[in-house]
């Protein structure tokens, strides 16, 4: 797994910060007053092996991101759930655990929302052909539950084909 880390993080002073970092000035230069910053935007990218262990790794990084962005505990639980489901689908159904294929996860946080994209390198699937897992006829069928969970716990979930191949799921959680 390769973590590209926080690619960029813009900070600006704000009046009512939700998440702030104190950076005290050196002694003799207004010592004790400190300065308040809000982390307004940041992007973190991960490149994961197509292994089942990658689920926990993606969830671990997601937890770090939601902490930095100051999301509520409830929102954090939903993000954790959705990330695990999306990466599970990418590893098992998209890349079919092919060691030659990677799963790319990108977290983009802004003052309004957290956007997460998960890209696999699989051949894709027809979203319309996935059965509704809540239909009593489909309750015992294995497919569709992960997608339902992502839609339940995130504010928006969109699927698309990447122009260079693979499926991209883009999930948004509003703050």
């Amino acid at each position: 797994m390769r973590v590209r880390g926080v690619l960029h993080r813009r900070t600006i002073p704000v009046r009512f910060p939700k998440l702030y970092v104190f950076k005290p000035k050196p002694a003799g230069d207004g010592a004790g007053k400190g300065r308040t910053y809000l982390v307004t935007e940041e992007t973190t990218e991960l490149e994961l092996e197509s292994r089942i262990e990658s689920i926990a790794r993606a969830a671990e990084v997601a937890a770090q991101v939601v902490r930095r962005l100051g999301l509520s505990e409830e929102a954090a639980y939903g993000v954790d759930m959705a990330v695990r489901e999306a990466v599970t689908n990418a590893v098992l159904h998209g890349n079919r655990q092919d060691a030659a294929k990677k799963v790319e996860v990108k977290f983009h946080g802004s003052p309004e929302r957290l956007e997460i994209t998960v890209r696999d390198r699989g051949t894709g699937f027809d979203l319309n052909s996935v059965p509704d897992p809540t239909d009593p006829q489909n309750l015992l069928k294995a497919s569709g539950r992960g997608i339902l969970f992502m839609r339940t716990f995130m504010d928006d979930v969109q699927y698309s084909r990447h122009p260079e191949g693979g499926t991209v799921v883009r999930m948004t959680k509003r703050k």
Binding site: A59, T88, L92, P136, A142, G146
Partner: protein, 125 residues
Amino acid sequence: MPNPFALQSTFEDGFSVIRLEGYLDAHTAPQFEQAVQSELDQGRTRFIVDCEKLTYISSAGLGVFMSFIEEIREQGGDIKICGLTPKVRQVFDILGFPELFDMCANREAAVQRFAESPLGKGAES
């Protein structure tokens, strides 16, 4: 360890009691699957799954319940689920589990439910 999961399986008073703890997802679900299969291999079909210490369940974890329930009921048994925390219970509810499974407050209630309805919701539908 980012994914703590523990499972304890015992056979008590005619019931296979499986206690789940921590995170049950695609990574750890095979352990749960093996525990259920191991009991079935011994001809035991009355399951109580104690989720009191379960902090998280994914669709893969729920899939284990789904994959066994028909076979277990065909053999005259059932799975009673007990001790769910509200957060985890919410996940079971999304998939309509209360329509399919008996969900009980605790192990005592699950044992009682077996006396009242040995085949659970399967017998009612």
